[in-house]
Amino acid sequence: MERRDFIKISALSGVMATLEGCRSAEKQLIRFVPEEELVPGIATWKPSVCTLCSAGCGLLVRVMQGEAEVVRRGQQGLIKMGLAKKLEGNPQHPINRGKLCARGQAGLQVLYHPDRITHPIKRTGARGSGEFQEISWDDALKELAAHLTTLQTSNSANALAFLARPLHGQRHELVERFLKAYGAPPAVWYQPFDEAVLRQANLLSFGHAALPTFDLGRADYVISFGADFLGTWNSAVAQSIGYGEMRQGRPGRRAKFVQVESRMSQTGANTDEWIPCRPGTEGALALGIAHVILSEKLAPQGAGSRAGSLIAGWSAGLPDFTPEAVEKQTGVSAAVIKRLAHELTQSGSAVAMVGGAPLAHTNGLFNALAVNALESLVDAGRDQGQILGFTPVLQPAIPAQASLASLTAFAQSALSGQPHAPQVLLLYEANPIFSAPPGLRIREALAKVPTIVSFGNFIDETSAQADLILPDHAPLESWLDSMPESGSLQAVASLAPPAVLPLHDTRSMPDVLLGLAHQLGGEVAKALPWATYDAMLRAAYVPLRTRGGSVDAKTDDDFWDAAQTQGGWWSTPSTAHSPEVAVAKHAPVSPAAPEFAGAAGDFPFYFLPYVSQSFGDGSLAHLPWLQELPDVLTSAMWSSWVEINPKTGDRLGIKQGDLVEIASPQGSVRAAAVLSPGIAPDMVAMPVGQGHENFSRFASGRGANPLSILAPLAEHETGSLAWAATRVKLVRAGGPEQAKLVLFAGGMSAFPHQEERR
């Protein structure tokens, strides 16, 4: 080619390239004057509190200046503001001591989530259609106040309902006071995996209606009955810190860890010995071990008598729980039962704990009391280093009412109109349409409520039914406080101001309620005399100044400043027992076998929906970091799956990755099959969290929801949902192309990329 022509061709290409550049210029956004002074490039660390689970870990938020696109005074523009860049544990906080779990780390994505509701909206289309239009805060608040005033003037204050996930700290107090002064029934505090059974058991066995705190760093032997204490149960970070200590934190001394469960969990993966046990029979196993200890006198005389007295037959040495009898019930061999009894009592400091699936049976309370009795038999008194303890209580104990019972009562009142039909429902971050058993007919019940107002900051299955949404700030934009009920033997009151300024046109829910209270006047205004939430917090927490502890301040103002800067107040560590609550005498509980929904003939498999390491109870499925986090046992991402034993797979012609359908008497779901050696051949398990029909762009229409096929069976005494008591049948429904299982780890085949989605 001649040079000239080469140049002509290049020139033409260059012109094309430049023409591409002549697209319409980016719209020029105005830059607002910053609302705070920050030095760019330099981070400040602000204390905060993690609100994603009940553990209440203390956070430090890394805040740096950045530029965000915002709407101010109705105009779109850019503003330099403090942006949260990273979350770390607060090293001073007694519960998590500078550490943070995977979900806590991912909580950062809630603040900057693309599907956060950015301003108040009002429904324009049919309920659930997703058609909303923007309204101003003034109008939204007027409308809400109008609804509440109408109820008051028509003498129907009891037709106001409040449905929320359990709130911590003064938010709980605020809502309860508001409702009481208003004349409405108490709030319905709902979460699918509540701990009502364990709280009741601990109240009866130990005098504390609370979740337990473990000093695992002192243990030589830990036996856990179903408690996923290193993953999702109770105060997982605090427990993991203790676990590290008990393994390799004391030179020459390494604790043994045994897990008893029916499906290998993330926690169970770390055991020295893993003991599979038939579902619902964990209590019988604990009593089998106790029988050996009692009959061979392996524990001091009189040990465990208080908790033991709650079990029928204890004083006679549990004659019905010989190792041979227990072997028949549980599937655990008599030899193992005897050996465990000896190991537990010969191992220095031992602890037995129970949580998770064993409590989610119709005999859950019995299982809990049985393990508590074993625990009190083997865990020596405080002077010799007791491992199980209870956090000193700072506020009156939250009544241990099971979520399911109060939700059922609410649904019934909406469906039947008895005792009175709710007219106005205030909703805050509870998602019963997703997580409650279908037998409760929540969707139908909500359809009967004339007015639904939501304060949550995301559209999910339940808030999609709202008529009016007044979005709350994200947690990092809010005043946060919490009084964790477990995780540390120090009394802890976490407290933190907002770490960042609000990004969107949202308002703090407590502030909205307080404003409403003021507007309503009368008793409500009297019960809540504060203009803002931080004023209420100040009034609540400043009295702690006189208790000494982690804040040394001479005046209330100093205390308030110092507590905020530290991230809260905590008591000095003490060896004193926290006082027990007086308990009415409870008759000894007779052993009860677990009941299941679904006849064993038609529904041959036990079904275990388990709390997901990534999504918790499903409320975190909207976070992309967690969707892409490979499940640690299967490496699955962005997927739902059903764990089945390889022998079951052989028998039913199911291969890894095939689509399977599991059906209970309540319904069926489909998901990919994962062959796992960690589950019994007569059991299938599924993680909770996926299967949202409407929950952000990342979780909507993805996977299947195991909670949607649960029978509404309840634990006998507490009424808590027995989520492990459903039976299912299993059938192959398609191949891997239909199941679309996404795994991070490659298959074990020689050519993993051939014909296979990894």
Binding site: S13, A17, R31, F32, G41, I42, G130, F132
Partner: protein
């Protein structure tokens, strides 16, 4: 090699043009649009490290940048430095962290609410402040995005490097000008002379 002239030449040129256009269409980022569009109460838009246009990419690659960009306010360093203002009065944090930063309009008004208030440029600044708007300064100094370089001012200031070394004599500039060619060789030369690390990871990470 000779290619025959005539219609084939034109065909080649058109093909080249179309190929370039097609390539750019594929490579350029697009706003993610869903079938029904996202609802109005959520945030839309996608952030990527891609250059916004092909022109921007070409300029970045060839390091084409304006030497003396036009600024919205006719600021003059000469006058302010002559009055004895230290650099760090406005460029706060340059000795503490990576960025020197342009001061916000509040900093300007801290003096200019009372000084020289009759000048038209000062009136402009006051108007911005009154509207709650920052002055839309045009960035002068930057590294090519694809250089992935993390420059940190603070160690340089602490080491006693004079601002004029990289920004040339500001007392002779009105608005900032890029008089010094800040290419990698410039950095390496000084680092070698001062016996500071020239390992890649010192700046590129």
């Amino acid at each position: 090699m000779r290619i025959p002239m005539g219609w084939r030449k034109w065909l080649l040129m058109i093909l080249a043009g179309v190929s370039v256009w097609a390539l750019l269409e594929i490579v350029l980022p697009r706003q993610r649009m869903r079938a029904s569009g996202p609802p109005a109460y959520v945030t839309t838009g996608v952030f990527t490290p891609a250059h916004p246009t092909a022109a921007a990419a070409v300029k970045d690659f060839l390091d084409i940048h304006p030497e003396h960009p036009v600024q919205p306010i006719a600021y003059t360093h000469t006058v302010h430095l002559a009055k004895g203002l230290p650099c760090t009065f406005c460029h706060v944090g340059v000795d503490q962290g990576p960025e020197a930063r342009i001061p916000g309009v509040t900093v300007c008004m801290s003096c200019h609410q009372s000084i020289a208030t009759d000048r038209p440029e000062i009136k402009k600044i006051a108007a911005y402040k009154a509207r709650g708007e920052e002055i839309p300064w045009v960035r002068v100094y930057n590294y090519s995005q694809s250089a992935h370089v993390r420059f940190n001012h603070a160690p340089h200031i602490r080491a006693g490097v004079d601002c004029a070394m990289c920004h040339s004599d500001m007392t002779k500039q009105t608005t900032a000008e890029r008089k010094v060619d800040l290419n990698m060789g410039f950095c390496i030369n000084c680092h070698t002379q001062k016996k500071v690390s020239i390992d890649c990871e010192t700046c590129h990470y």
